[in-house]
């Protein structure tokens, strides 16, 4: 019960932080970190998959309303939430299949690759849908990578602060 409650609080805090602060950073003109995917990346491992997918959709939609975009955050959050088990299997292998992985005791290297790939997929879909024009692929990739660096740094700091502090 306590864990469900703390997860809801985390989601609400992340939504507000993203909508009111991180959407307005505009570093070097237009680079913003999308820290809200922290919630999707480090959602507890034991969960009901349908419920998780639905949560991710609603979560993304709320971010959309905040940033005046048209369901692009919802779509990209939905996709990473759907492929998350596959990514976990890819990076944590047997340990994940035997359900002995815990986010507060994973190896640094595995964690970094997992985080980078989930952020990259999310950002690529996000900017792809936003620009909505495959002839501008260079613009999409440029936005993806510049935001990726920023998002990665902030999410990794959050990871150290929130999940890794009990070590």
């Amino acid at each position: 019960m306590n864990r469900i409650f703390s997860n809801i609080i985390l989601a609400v805090v992340l939504i507000f932080a993203q909508g009111l602060f991180f959407n307005n950073i505009n570093f070097l003109g237009s680079i913003n970190p999308f820290i809200y995917i922290f919630f999707i990346a480090y959602f507890p491992l034991k969960n009901n998959r349908s419920f998780f997918i639905f949560c991710a959709f609603v979560y993304g939609l709320i971010i959309d309303v905040f940033s005046d975009t048209h369901a692009i955050h919802a779509a990209s959050t939905l996709i990473i939430s759907y492929i998350r088990p596959n990514l976990l299997k890819l990076f944590f292998g047997m340990a994940y299949e035997h359900q002995v992985v815990k986010f507060n005791s994973i190896e640094l290297k595995q964690n970094l690759f997992y985080l980078l790939s989930i952020i990259f997929i999310h950002h690529f879909i996000l900017f792809g849908l936003e620009v909505f024009d495959m002839s501008k692929i260079s613009l999409i990739l440029k936005n993806t990578f510049s935001s990726l660096v920023f998002t990665f740094i902030v999410i990794y700091i959050l990871f150290e602060l929130i999940i890794n502090r009990h070590k």
Binding site: G29, D68, H70, Y82, L129, E130
Partner: protein, 264 residues
């Protein structure tokens, strides 16, 4: 039948995923086609209140700059006032454009389709398709209003189109934004006979009912022939710094209904 149900239960995650993805994409695509969103925008009441609270806190940090802009505008207006000898304003004449002063409560320029929310709505008689300008030039066009708030399509939106012309000649073209540089917009379809020099002022053309003729948009930064080699394509440096706007003016055309009735 049992097999179908079994199949559905086994693949319920994937079906849920596909149907939600379909919802997302249909919202996105319907936006790209019709340029309208029905329910997903921040002029909804709850979000507007939130942004309004944030705006009341953060506006104090920007007061000095906004003051400077207002003083500069006052100076220009006084210059015009003192240099006009004859009294042009006739009290009985109908005013063509109503001007309302508004404040930005949520600015946005980091996407390729940007919308900006302002703190006045239907109660201040702001309507869809009213023009929005800053003290320097054109900023956008209202696309959605509620009772207290409204939202406008920023000039930095790839769906924004505007008829614009040169200040000192009558060659005109279509102004749009390619989504790349937030300081520059593009003016296309200008006939190649037009004499262009760097720094020329571009103003709104009279063909639009939204803006009166002659409101500045920006200055020519560079130009080249387009692919067909019959028209010029100009890079325009915006007159307004879109990253720092706060006080804006909404222009409402009073003759719009009368003019539109001609088309019916």
């Amino acid at each position: 039948m049992q097999r179908i149900i079994y199949f559905l239960i086994r693949n319920k995650d994937f079906i849920l995923f596909l149907s939600l993805l379909f919802i997302c994409l249909s919202i996105n695509i319907s936006y790209n086609e019709y340029n309208k969103s029905r329910f997903l925008n921040s002029s909804n009441t709850l979000f507007s209140h939130l942004y309004n609270t944030k705006f009341t806190i953060s506006k104090y940090f920007n007061l000095e700059y906004q003051n400077k802009i207002l003083t500069e505008e006052n100076r220009k207006l006084r210059l015009i006032l003192y240099n006009t000898n004859e009294k042009k304003v006739d009290q009985f004449e109908k005013v063509n454009f109503d001007v309302t002063s508004v404040s930005v409560i949520k600015n946005s320029y980091s996407y390729s389709n940007n919308f900006i929310t302002i703190d006045s709505g239907k109660k201040d008689s702001i309507d869809i398709d009213n023009g929005v300008i800053s003290s320097n030039g054109v900023v956008g066009i209202i696309d959605k209003t509620t009772y207290n708030y409204s939202r406008f399509i920023s000039i930095l939106n790839t769906n924004f189109l505007l008829n614009a012309k040169f200040k000192n000649s009558n060659y005109f073209g279509i102004l749009s934004w390619d989504g790349i540089n937030i300081n520059k917009v593009q003016l296309k379809d200008v006939p190649k006979q037009a004499e262009v020099s760097i720094g020329d002022t571009i103003v709104t053309g009279g063909n639009s009912l939204i803006f009166p003729k002659g409101i500045p948009v920006g200055y020519v930064d560079s130009y080249k022939l387009d692919n067909s080699e019959n028209y010029l394509e100009l890079e325009i440096k915006l007159a307004t710094d879109m990253t720092n706007i706060e006080k804006l003016y909404v222009l409402k055309n009073n003759n719009l209904r009368e003019i539109n009735s001609l088309d019916e």
